[in-house]
C-alpha cells in the first residue's frame, strides 16, 4: 500500500468493508490502510459515501461485511473510552444548543475520563494544551455560539485534541470556512501531524486543498475506492472528469508545483458573443440532459420536431429553447417538417439524441440528412438499431446512410462534448 513502507504501524485498516444504512448499502468492499503519522485526504463527489466511510471507521456504523481495524484492533471490540482515546472526530459543524463556554466545550473532550474519580491535573494540562495549540485559549470564557465559524471549528478541533487521540478524522470540517480560517485550521492540522505524529484523515470536497495538504489522496465514487495514491497519481483530469461527471482540467500551480484542478467556467467566460447553433433531434426525455449540457457548454440550442406534452418539449419550454412542435401523439406533419427544416438551415450542426424512432418521427432523421447535404456536421447517438420501432427497420437503414455520409457516432455526453470540442475548439465558439 502506498505510504506504508517508511511509516509506522497501521493506524486504520479497512478490509473488504461493506456498510450502509437500513435497506441501503453505501460502501461496497472498501479496502485500504493508513499508517501511523500519515496525512490522508478522502475525496469524492457529494453522496459518494465519504461520510459513511468515516462513520464506519469510528464504529458509529457497523460494517455488514469485512473488518475495520484501528491501531490493530477491531473497532467494534473497543470500549467506548478506549475508542475515544484513539480516535478524535471533528464534525462538519459542532452544534451546542446549550450555552456552554469554549472552555467547557473543550473540557467535554476530557469529561468522561474522570467520570467517577474526578479530573486530575493531567486532564487540565491536556485541555489547556489543546486550547493553546488551536489558539482558543484566550476565548475560553466566551460562549461557544458567540464565536465565528472559524473559531467554532478551532474549538471543535481543540475538543478532539483534548482527547489526546492518535488519529484525528475531520468530516468536511473546513468546508464552510473562508480561506483565512480554513488555512489556519489546516496549518494546525499539519503541525500536529508533523510534531505530534497524529495521523490525520481529512474528508474534503475541496480537491485542491486536499491535494495541497495531504500526502495521499483516496478517491471514492459510489461507495467504492476508485483510486488511492499520491496527489499526482489521483489528480488526473480524465479520472476526475469521469468520477465527478463533468469537464475538469488539472494544471500545475506555478508557485508550489501542486496539481490544481479547475472546471470549465474560465473557458465559458472567454467565449465570444456569437455562438454556434446546434439543432437537437430528440424526444421522450432523451433530450433533457442534452439541452442542459449543450447550453452550459455555450451552444445555442434549437430542437424539433417534438410532440406537444412530450417531456423534451416541456424541458425545451422551461429552458427557453426554440422548438418546432406537433400535436400530441400524432405523426410529424408537412408544415412542422418545413419549419424544422428552416430551423436546421440556420444551425451550424445537428445532434441526434438517443431517441426511439418510430414511423411518426422517422422524418426527423431526414432533417439530419439535409444538414449533411448542406455540408454541416451531424453527431448521432450510437445504437439506433436498438431503438428502431419502424416496421421495415427504416430508421436503422437511415442511420447507416447518415454515417456513410459523414455523421459521427457518439456514446455518452462526455464523448459528445469532446467531439464538439474537436470540431469547434473553444476559441471559435
Amino acid at each position: 500500500m502506498p505510504g506504508m513502507t517508511e511509516l509506522g504501524a497501521s493506524a486504520l485498516a479497512f478490509r473488504g468493508v461493506t456498510a450502509g444504512y437500513k435497506g441501503r448499502t453505501v460502501l461496497h468492499g472498501v479496502d485500504f490502510g493508513i499508517a501511523e503519522g500519515e496525512f490522508v485526504s478522502l475525496i469524492g463527489p457529494n453522496g459518494s459515501g465519504k461520510s459513511t466511510l468515516l462513520k464506519t471507521a469510528t464504529g458509529l456504523l457497523k460494517a455488514s461485511e469485512g473488518s475495520v481495524e484501528v491501531f490493530g484492533r477491531e473497532v467494534s471490540s473497543l470500549k467506548p473510552r478506549e475508542r475515544a482515546s484513539l480516535i478524535g472526530v471533528v464534525p462538519q459543524k459542532l452544534d451546542s444548543p446549550m450555552a456552554f463556554t469554549v472552555g467547557e466545550i473543550v473540557m467535554l473532550g476530557r469529561n468522561l475520563r474522570g467520570r467517577w474519580t474526578g479530573l486530575e491535573g493531567r486532564d487540565y494540562d491536556s485541555v489547556e494544551k489543546a486550547m493553546i495549540y488551536t489558539n482558543v485559549f484566550d476565548m475560553k470564557e466566551r460562549r461557544f455560539n458567540e464565536l465565528s465559524a472559524g473559531e467554532q471549528q478551532r474549538t471543535a478541533l481543540a475538543m478532539a485534541l483534548a482527547q489526546e487521540p492518535r488519529i484525528i478524522m475531520l468530516d468536511e470540517s473546513i468546508a464552510h470556512l473562508d480561506i483565512n480560517h480554513s488555512q489556519e485550521v489546516l496549518r494546525i492540522l499539519m503541525n500536529i501531524n508533523r510534531e505530534e505524529r497524529i495521523t490525520v484523515l481529512l474528508v474534503s470536497h475541496d480537491l485542491n486543498l486536499a491535494a495541497q495538504v495531504a500526502g495521499r489522496l483516496m478517491l471514492v465514487q459510489q461507495g467504492r475506492l476508485v483510486k488511492n495514491g499520491s496527489p499526482e497519481e489521483v489528480m488526473q483530469s480524465d479520472l476526475l472528469s469521469r468520477v465527478y461527471d463533468c469537464e475538469l482540467r488539472v494544471r500545475r500551480d506555478p508557485f508550489s508545483g501542486n496539481p490544481v484542478v479547475s472546471g470549465a467556467l474560465d473557458e465559458m467566460l472567454r467565449r465570444p458573443a456569437v455562438r454556434k447553433r446546434l439543432h437537437v433531434i430528440c424526444g421522450g426525455g432523451s433530450g433533457i440532459e442534452l439541452f442542459r449540457r449543450l447550453s452550459i457548454e455555450g451552444f445555442e440550442v434549437t430542437s424539433g420536431v417534438l410532440n406537444r406534452l412530450d417531456s423534451d418539449a416541456e424541458a425545451a419550454r422551461a429552458l427557453d429553447i426554440p422548438c418546432v412542435l406537433e400535436q400530441p401523439f400524432s405523426a410529424v406533419g408537412d408544415e412542422a417538417f418545413r419549419q424544422a427544416a428552416a430551423m436546421v438551415s440556420q444551425a451550424d450542426g445537428v445532434v441526434i439524441g438517443p431517441v426511439p424512432i418510430g414511423p411518426g418521427n422517422l422524418v426527423n432523421l431526414r432533417l439530419a440528412a439535409e444538414a449533411l447535404a448542406a455540408g454541416k456536421p451531424v453527431w448521432i447517438a450510437s445504437g439506433l438499431d436498438k431503438r428502431d420501432y419502424t416496421p421495415g427497420k427504416e430508421a436503422a437503414e437511415m442511420s447507416a446512410k447518415l454515417r456513410n455520409a459523414g455523421a459521427t457516432e457518439w456514446k455518452g455526453i462526455q464523448e459528445l462534448t469532446a467531439l464538439l470540442n474537436r470540431a469547434w475548439p473553444e476559441s471559435q465558439r
Binding site: P80, A84, P91, F100, M107, W116
Partner: protein, 331 residues
C-alpha cells in the same frame, strides 16, 4: 478549574441552600387556619404542625422530581420544549395513577400508586418512541414531541372516560388529585417516594458528565467515548421514574418541570453537574413557596397549587429568563 463561573455558582448554590430552611419556617408559619405557629400543646395544634410539615416534604419531593425530570428530558432531547408533560410521560403516569385510585392497587401496598404510575409512564414513553420512530432509526426531536402531545391527549381522554364512569366518591378523588395538590399522604407513602426520588436524582447526578456530552448530540457523544444509547435509555427511564412518582403523589402539577430547569440553567449555566442538584432543590423550593401562597391567598379556601405555579411563577420566571436566557440556551 476551567469550568466557568464555579465560584459564582458556589455562592448561588449557598443562597439556594439557605433558602430551604427559611422556606421550612415559612411553611410551618403559614396555613389556612391562620398565620403563626399553632399551639403545640393542643392536639389540633400538633396536627396542624404535622400537616404543614407534611406539605413541606411533599412540596420539596414533588418539585424536585418534576424539575429534575424536566432538566434531563431537555438535555437528552436537546430541546427547550421537552418536559414530562410534552412527552406524554405525565399523561401516562396520570392514567396509571387514576386506574390505581379507581380500581385499587392494594397488593403493592405503599408503593402501589407510584409503581403503577411508573409502569404506565414507561409504557407511554415507549409508545411515543415507537410512534415517532416509524421510519426506523432514532426518531427526530420534532416527531417525538408531536407524538408525545398526541399520546398525552389520548391519555387524558381515557382518564376523562374513567372519571365519567366512576362512582361519585372515586370521581371526586380523581378530580381532586388531578387538579394537583400537596395534601400529604401517609408518612409511609412519603418515605417510599423519598426513596425513589432521592435514588433517581442521585443516579442522574452521577450521569451528569455524560449528559453534558450528550447535549452535543448522540453522534458527538459517541466520538467522546460515551455509550450514547445506554446513557440515553437509562436517563430517560430515571427521568420517567421521577415524573411518575411526582404525578402519583401530587397529581398534575404543570409548569414546574418546564420552567424551573430553564431558570436554573440561566442561573447556574448548562453544566449538569451543577444543574441537576440545582434543579432538584430549586424545583422543591419553588413548589413549597407556591404551596404556601396557595394556602393563604384565599384562606380559608385553598386554591390548587398548580394554579399558583403558573399564575405566580410565570411572570417572575419570564422576567428572569428575558434577562438571562443567553446563559442557558443558544438562540
Amino acid at each position: 478549574m476551567i469550568v466557568q463561573g464555579s465560584p459564582v455558582n458556589r455562592r448561588r448554590a449557598l443562597l439556594l441552600a439557605a433558602a430551604i430552611p427559611a422556606l421550612l419556617g415559612l411553611s410551618l408559619l403559614l396555613g389556612p387556619s391562620g398565620v403563626g405557629l399553632p399551639d403545640t400543646s393542643s392536639i389540633s395544634g400538633r396536627a396542624i404542625i404535622d400537616l404543614r410539615l407534611g406539605r413541606f416534604v411533599m412540596g420539596m419531593l414533588i418539585g424536585a422530581a418534576l424539575s429534575t425530570s424536566g432538566t434531563v428530558f431537555q438535555a437528552i432531547l436537546r430541546n427547550p420544549l421537552a418536559e414530562p408533560y410534552v412527552l406524554g410521560v405525565s399523561g401516562g403516569a396520570g392514567l396509571g395513577a387514576a386506574l390505581s385510585i379507581l380500581v385499587g392497587g392494594g397488593i403493592l401496598g405503599a408503593a402501589g400508586l407510584p409503581v403503577t404510575a411508573f409502569f404506565f409512564a414507561v409504557v407511554t414513553l415507549f409508545a411515543v418512541y415507537a410512534i415517532a420512530g416509524q421510519g426506523g432509526g432514532m426518531p427526530s426531536v420534532y416527531s417525538l414531541i408531536l407524538s408525545g402531545v398526541i399520546v398525552s391527549a389520548i391519555c387524558s381522554s381515557v382518564i376523562m372516560f374513567l372519571v365519567s364512569t366512576a362512582n361519585v366518591e372515586g370521581m371526586h378523588t380523581v378530580m381532586w388529585w388531578m387538579l394537583g395538590n400537596l395534601q400529604p399522604s401517609s408518612w409511609g407513602d412519603q418515605f417510599v417516594a423519598l426513596l425513589f426520588i432521592a435514588s433517581a436524582s442521585v443516579a442522574l447526578w452521577l450521569l451528569a458528565p455524560a449528559l453534558n456530552v450528550l447535549t452535543l448530540g448522540r453522534e458527538m457523544a459517541h466520538y467522546q467515548g460515551l455509550n450514547a444509547g445506554t446513557v440515553t435509555v437509562s436517563s430517560l427511564l430515571l427521568a420517567t421514574l421521577l415524573a411518575a412518582t411526582a404525578v402519583s403523589m401530587g397529581g398534575m402539577i404543570g409548569f414546574v418541570g418546564l420552567i424551573v430547569p430553564h431558570v436554573m440553567r440561566a442561573i447556574f449555566g448548562p453544566d449538569h453537574r451543577w444543574l441537576v442538584p440545582a434543579s432538584a432543590f430549586g424545583g422543591g423550593a419553588f413548589l413549597v413557596l407556591c404551596d404556601a401562597l396557595a394556602r393563604i391567598v384565599m384562606a380559608p379556601i385553598e386554591i390548587p397549587v398548580g394554579v399558583v405555579t403558573a399564575l405566580a411563577g410565570g411572570p417572575f420566571f419570564l422576567i428572569v429568563l428575558r434577562k438571562r436566557m443567553k446563559y442557558a440556551w443558544n438562540d
